[in-house]
């Protein structure tokens, strides 16, 4: 059982939330530019690390807002919670974001990097 701190509502049971999958996946601006292999990489390949991961959560039974979470998949420890349109601030989060294979993927190479606030 996870105990997640919603940025607006405070600590709540995980049954009030919905999991939104991996965070910071950018949609290709022009899918026609990609070949099938590159597009399937964007669409189907998800990170499944043993350790920290950046993921999205929705407080569906509360304020109904999305936010990002930095969670350790081994210990289930949540070390950072940050707004949906921003990048992580913590050292762990910044490192994970920078080193993620997706930063070097063909999808992200072809598109303009998203401007986070």
């Amino acid at each position: 059982m996870l105990y997640i701190e919603c940025p607006w509502c405070g600590f709540r049971d995980d049954e009030e939330f919905h999991y939104g999958g991996e965070a910071h996946i950018q949609r290709p601006t022009d899918p026609n530019e990609l070949n099938d292999e590159e597009f399937s990489e964007y669409l189907y390949l998800k990170s499944n690390p043993k350790g920290v991961i950046l993921e999205r959560w929705l407080h569906s039974r509360g304020c109904r807002r999305w936010f990002n979470v930095l969670r350790n998949t081994v210990t289930n420890e949540i070390t950072e919670i940050y707004p949906i349109d921003t990048l992580p601030n913590s050292k762990e989060g910044t490192e994970y974001y920078g080193q993620n294979w997706r930063r070097k993927s063909s999808v992200e190479k072809t598109i303009k990097p998203r401007e986070y606030k």
């Binding site: 607006w8 509502c9 405070g10 709540r12 049971d13 049954e15 009030e16 039974r61 509360g62 304020c63 109904r64 807002r65």
Partner: protein, 205 residues
């Protein structure tokens, strides 16, 4: 305007708990009831959503039109007379009062200068009031929320699940809670509350 008039009328609105509520004392009530349950019907419920740029004007307008001095604090409610405004999300509130006028039209005319979204939910939500000594014990059986009087203080509000039903709960006075639930779930929630309250002894008003 014609459309507004068509939507009016609501005093004759039928409660989803119409045939369900039977007044009386139930459960373990040899020493008197420790919980009192009632349906607040009819209740006007209007959802209001604003843009973050207009927050200051909105605060001022709520003060002048409804007399409520509210803040932008999360999970809080504020009231004046019988009208109450409850936080339900960033820049989103529910305004509620016992039905006596068309609340949506009133707010629409009072707040027309601000860019807002008003939705009348009076037909779609039910309001159930629970009070009495054991209220917090009863609610703690249904939701994983800290119900301690120092945490869940008067005017605190939460959106959560109570007996697995999505609800908005507002503490109006100490041990006096108002629960808003979707109309279709009202019967289910009423039965759940009744069953959970049996061990304390409860009175339906």
């Amino acid at each position: 305007m014609a459309r507004e008039q068509h939507l009016l009328p609501s005093i004759a609105r039928k409660s989803p708990l119409d045939k369900v509520i039977v007044s009386g004392v139930y459960g373990n009530s040899d020493e008197g009831a420790n919980i009192f349950i009632k349906e607040n019907h009819p209740t006007s419920i209007v959802q209001i959503e604003i843009k973050s740029e207009t927050t200051d004007v909105f605060l001022e307008k709520i003060k002048t039109s409804l007399g409520i001095e509210m803040s932008f604090e999360t999970n809080r409610s504020a009231f004046f007379n019988k009208t109450r405004i409850i936080w339900t999300g960033p820049n989103k509130w529910i305004i509620t009062e016992p039905e006596s006028r068309n609340l949506k039209s009133f707010l629409h005319s009072e707040l027309k200068e601000i860019d807002i979204a008003l939705i009348d939910l009076s037909h779609g939500r039910s309001s159930i009031g629970i009070s009495g000594l054991m209220t917090r014990d009863l609610l703690s059986k249904g939701a994983a929320i800290d119900w301690h009087p120092n945490i869940f203080v008067v005017n605190h509000s939460v959106q959560t699940t109570l007996f697995n039903l999505p609800v908005l709960i507002c503490c109006e006075e100490n041990n006096n809670f108002n629960i808003f639930v979707a109309r279709g779930f009202a019967h289910n929630l009423w039965r759940w509350i009744g069953e959970a309250a049996e061990e304390f002894g409860y009175e339906v008003r």
